[in-house]
Amino acid sequence: MGIEDKMSSDLSAFETRLSKLAPAEALDGSMLMFRAGQAAGARTRRRWQMLTAAAVCLAAGTAMLSMIRPRTQIVERLVYVRHESLSPVPYRPVAAAADLEPVESLWRRGEVSEFSYFRLRQQVLEYGLSALPTSPAGSGGPQDTRRLMDELLHGGNVNGWQPI
């Protein structure tokens, strides 16, 4: 026999009569539904508020971090470095311009090449451009220029050039 059955018939009948009484209405259903809607809206709003608060906290934290972080300090200090002193370059005095012998006298004495700048200049001044020597066949321009420069710098003869 279950616990549900341990009731006398009188008590069971009284229970049945008692259950016929209907409890009075105590609540406004529309008010409850209104509050349920409010609560649902509040949940959505709370979610957005939490997101906003999290973003604000993140921004504030970043700002604080940038303020707290130590700035780069410029430290000035003297540093002594030991190094082997280089041997001094021996002084070679440059000859004074007045001590140099004029180039024309060198040329006249035959110590300057026939193709030297000064000689060519002299020829052009005396006989015109047609007096300039022609380059031998097969020789290129840049090579001629190089030879001329070598001659100019070193005063040597250039192979393949013939004096006019």
């Binding site: 616990i3 549900e4 341990k6 009731m7 009188d10 008590l11 009948a13 009284f14 229970e15 009569r17 008692l18 259950s19 016929k20 009484l21 209907a22 409890p23 009075a24 209405e25 105590a26 609540l27 406004d28 259903g29 008010m31 409850l32 539904m33 509050r35 349920a36 809607g37 609560a39 649902a40 949940r43």
Partner: protein
């Protein structure tokens, strides 16, 4: 919970009156409405639906009502407030076998631990196991207390002559 508002309307229709009657064992009319409303809203806010919604609602209302009762400063003040505010607990119909006002008075005279069991059983349709769970008492204690309560209520409401003729 999905379709929460539809479910809420159904639960409200099915359980709001017994729950209000249950809360009235401890609270006045205004506080009763608040407590029951909060219970429904709390149910709506649950992520998972309770296994037994009815028992869950009764337990929630009970806890809220007792908390509200503790919150009030003294029981004397509370009793005075209830005496001033006398809502009708039952709807009176002409074909009712019992007098609604008499039932209300008889229930009020019972100790709260007895009257709450009667409300849970008669109008809440809870099983003894569910009643024991809500009241936080052993099953045998709840059963014995319920039988004592219903006998006491019957003595208060039914005259000896009436009990013999029925």
């Amino acid at each position: 919970m999905k379709d929460g508002h539809q479910d809420l309307a159904q639960w409200f229709e099915a359980h709001s009156r017994p729950l209000a009657l249950y809360a009235r064992q401890w609270l006045d009319d205004h506080a009763t409405a608040d407590v029951v409303q909060e219970a429904f809203l709390k149910l709506l806010g649950q992520k998972r639906r309770p296994n037994n919604v009815r028992a869950w609602l009764f337990r929630t209302v009970r806890n809220a009502a007792l908390n509200e009762l503790r919150r009030r400063r003294t029981r004397i003040q509370h009793a005075q407030a209830i005496a001033v505010n006398r809502p009708e607990w039952f709807q009176q119909h002409l074909d009712d076998a019992l007098d609604a006002q008499a039932a209300q008075e008889a229930l009020k005279q019972l100790p709260p631990e007895q009257s709450e069991l009667i409300v849970m059983r008669i109008w809440g349709h809870l099983t003894y196991e569910q009643m024991a769970e809500v009241a936080g008492e052993p099953l045998s204690t709840v059963h014995g207390r319920y039988v004592a309560a219903i006998e006491s209520l019957r003595r208060k409401m039914v005259t000896p002559w009436e009990s013999k003729t029925k």
